[in-house]
């Protein structure tokens, strides 16, 4: 009996120990995950923002301080982490222009010019607050490493640093809704630490096929005071895409994919 009691107490103690170890390990692993998983969260955010291979329509709207508005409509296809190709559908002055990005390489095809030319991430094919990097956005995880993650009232703040110097913004702070794992604000900084622009992700919409993401990105910039820019997303659809689409020779045929 005593032995049994002892045994029982011992068993209880062991059980308690096990529970404590599990709780400790659980806590430890959670903390470790917190410390390590900024990049995993970033990858998840990328997948939630768009499928691995998909097509979409976007309307870019630039609004000047005097209220003048310029709109551009683009059809885009994206595959993998770092390949995106687009064609302008309107306005008429831009129609047929297409862009291609493979990693850090960007090209612009202008029908008049008749051949692709290399462009850089900080240029802007549309003018206004959006630059080429915003318009030809590849996965954030392809360009950035998460250096620090913080838990804030509304979710997480990921502090991202560019993997290469070729990236448009040296550091980015991404504020994430922890439930949906989608960003609601991104601050983009230059190497000097100067804030270049803010991106606000709004209007979460179900596009079907499990794609639930913000349908609107609003931008402002201290460099363009009183200017506003918006990107409206439509028809975001999963689609299998051949690698050959993401080549210079295919740039003038992107419209044919619609």
């Amino acid at each position: 009996m005593h032995w049994d009691m002892f045994n029982l107490q011992d068993k209880k103690g062991m059980k308690m120990k096990k529970i404590l170890i599990i709780i400790f390990l659980g806590l430890f692993s959670t903390l470790s995950a917190f410390a390590l998983d900024g990049n995993e969260i970033l990858r998840q955010v990328d997948r939630n923002l768009n499928p691995d291979s998909f097509e979409m329509y976007r309307k870019l709207i630039n609004i000047e301080p005097d209220g003048t508005k310029k709109e551009f409509v683009m059809f885009s296809v994206k595959k993998g982490k770092d390949k995106i190709a687009s064609v302008f559908l309107s306005p008429a002055s831009e129609k047929g222009r297409s862009t291609l990005r493979i990693g850090d390489n960007m090209w612009l095809y202008i029908p008049n010019v008749g051949k692709p030319i290399r462009i850089t991430s900080l240029q802007s094919v549309t003018g206004g607050v959006f630059n080429n990097s915003d318009i030809m956005r590849v996965d954030y995880s392809a360009e950035y490493n998460c250096e620090k993650i913080e838990t804030i009232d509304t979710g997480y703040a990921l502090y991202l640093k560019a993997k290469l110097k070729t990236v448009a913004y040296e550091t980015v702070t991404m504020f994430i809704d922890s439930e949906k794992l989608l960003p609601y604000k991104i601050e983009c900084y230059a190497a000097s630490g100067m804030l270049i622009k803010n991106l606000y992700f709004k209007n979460i919409k179900d596009f079907g096929q499990g794609v639930i993401r913000p349908a609107l990105i609003e931008t402002d910039s201290p460099l363009y005071k009183d200017y506003k820019s918006y990107i409206v997303f439509a028809n975001v659809k999963k689609r299998d895409l051949a690698d050959e689409i993401f080549t210079l020779n295919y740039m003038h045929k992107i419209d044919g994919l619609r």
Partner: protein, 442 residues
């Protein structure tokens, strides 16, 4: 000239009226910012049409002492300036059904100047059918522009296209009739993309007769490689009657804001026609080597610099060019003294070679453009300099481009030619030019 003013004024009024209408619509739209996620363009039609109409007023300021002015007009032109008004319409359309695409671009030009009064030109710039059975393969037949090479202002390896206009390198070109294909293979690894573009081009009295005097099929091809973040092309052209051409080009971003490109071509057994100051012509045969090296740089202040050095192995040396100008000088003296135009006429037989753009051997090209200065969106001032390294003459072109409304572009370009006597730019017909153009896209 009066007609030109009337045409320009009428057009300006139409554009202004339309511009006001567009502007008012824009303001109305702003009240209810269109963020309802409806994008009309999502509904694709099998056909699409777009067009642009441009009116242009050009004023040329003659250099009456220039030798090319004397070659062209002798002493028969008293005006110090020439005005020309252009009305230019380009319509582009395409129709696509499954794997077949039809494409056409047509241009009509109506112009007025004092010498010719009203004249018009019409041309089919491109018209072809394209079969695209897969993402990897396309076969095109018809009139098409094949723009090869990486140069911005110069294109030594553009074997199957007409020369670019150095005043406006981005301008649309007219194509040639050809049968061509495009085979693309993309894969992982170091060599990410390979593309092969064979071209077959008939030359006869009915089509492509500008290329050569004899009936034949010329053929060639381009091999494109994308590897190590670098674009590389190998090109060739083979002909029984023309010169065989071999070329290579490359383009790469050295940093996010700095791109480097190069373009080189060998022209086998090139015949160069030379004239001496007495009007005697001779032919030299040699293999010409043409090349360019260029940079494109974007500064933190959004200033874009495009710089190119171009060596034209088919061009004339400073001495050869000066000899040609001496012939014109002697010819003009001959005309003044004897009324004979024989030497001037002899010089004119070679003008197609000597008077063409970049006729000499070594050039520097620099274009500096500033995006949105003074917080004015869609405003781009620029300056372009073409410098002839052999005779130190130059063309300097300041330019202002503004797009105040969607689909409307206003462009003011002035050109100044600078050079001593008997230099390329110093002896051009004009010493300055002003061009105002308004273009509307619809």
């Amino acid at each position: 000239m009066k007609h030109g003013f009337i045409l320009l004024t009428a057009w300006f009024m139409i554009v202004s009226f339309y511009g006001t209408a567009v502007s008012q619509n824009t303001d109305d739209d702003l009240i209810d910012l269109d963020l309802d996620f409806k994008i009309e363009e999502v509904e694709k039609k099998p056909y699409s049409i777009k067009a642009d109409i441009e009116t242009k007023e050009t004023i040329r300021f003659f250099d009456r002492d220039a030798l090319l002015f004397k070659q062209r007009y002798l002493d028969k032109k008293n005006e110090a300036t020439a005005w020309q008004t252009d009305l230019d319409l380009t319509i582009e359309g395409q129709f696509q059904k499954d794997f077949i695409k039809l494409y056409g671009r047509f241009n009509g030009l109506l112009y007025y100047n004092d010498d010719e009064n009203f004249e018009s030109e019409r041309k089919v710039e491109e018209a072809y059918i394209s079969f695209q059975p897969s993402f990897s393969l396309a076969i095109d037949a018809g009139k098409k522009v094949h723009k090869w090479g990486k140069g911005y202002a110069f294109s030594p390896s553009a074997f199957f296209s007409r020369p670019k206009n150095l005043d406006d390198p981005d301008a649309t070109l007219e194509g040639y009739y050809s049968l061509s294909a495009d085979y693309i293979k993309s894969r992982g690894g170091i060599l990410q993309t390979i593309a092969i573009t064979p071209v077959l081009m008939p030359v006869n009295r009915d089509i492509n007769h500008e290329i050569g005097p004899k009936d034949e099929f010329i053929w060639g091809g381009k091999f494109y490689f994308f590897t190590l973040d670098t674009d590389i092309d190998l090109m060739f052209l083979v002909s029984d009657n023309l010169n065989n051409h071999f070329g290579i080009d490359f383009s790469k971003n050295l940093t996010p804001s700095l791109e480097i490109h190069g373009d080189a071509a060998l022209v086998k057994d090139y015949h160069q026609y030379i004239i001496d100051e007495y009007g005697n012509t001779s032919k030299q045969e040699d293999t010409a080597f043409n090349f360019l090296l260029g940079l494109r740089y974007l500064s933190r202040q959004d200033t874009t610099y495009i710089f190119e050095y171009y060596h034209n192995g088919q061009g004339y040396s400073a001495r050869e060019y000066e000899t040609y100008l001496s012939l014109i000088e002697r010819g003009f003296d001959q005309y003044l003294n004897t009324s004979s135009q024989s030497l001037i006429s002899q010089s004119k037989t070679m003008s197609a070679y000597y008077n063409q753009q970049a006729a000499m051997r070594d050039y520097l090209y620099l274009k500096v453009s500033q995006k949105d200065p003074f917080d004015i969106l869609y405003f781009v001032p620029a300056i372009t300099v073409v410098y002839n390294m052999e005779d130190q003459s130059a063309s300097i072109t300041p330019q202002l481009t503004y797009s105040p409304l969607t689909n409307l572009t206003v462009d003011l370009k002035t050109g100044f030619l600078i050079g001593k006597n008997k230099t390329e730019y110093g002896e051009k017909i004009n010493n300055a030019k002003v061009v105002l153009s308004i273009k509307y896209y619809f």
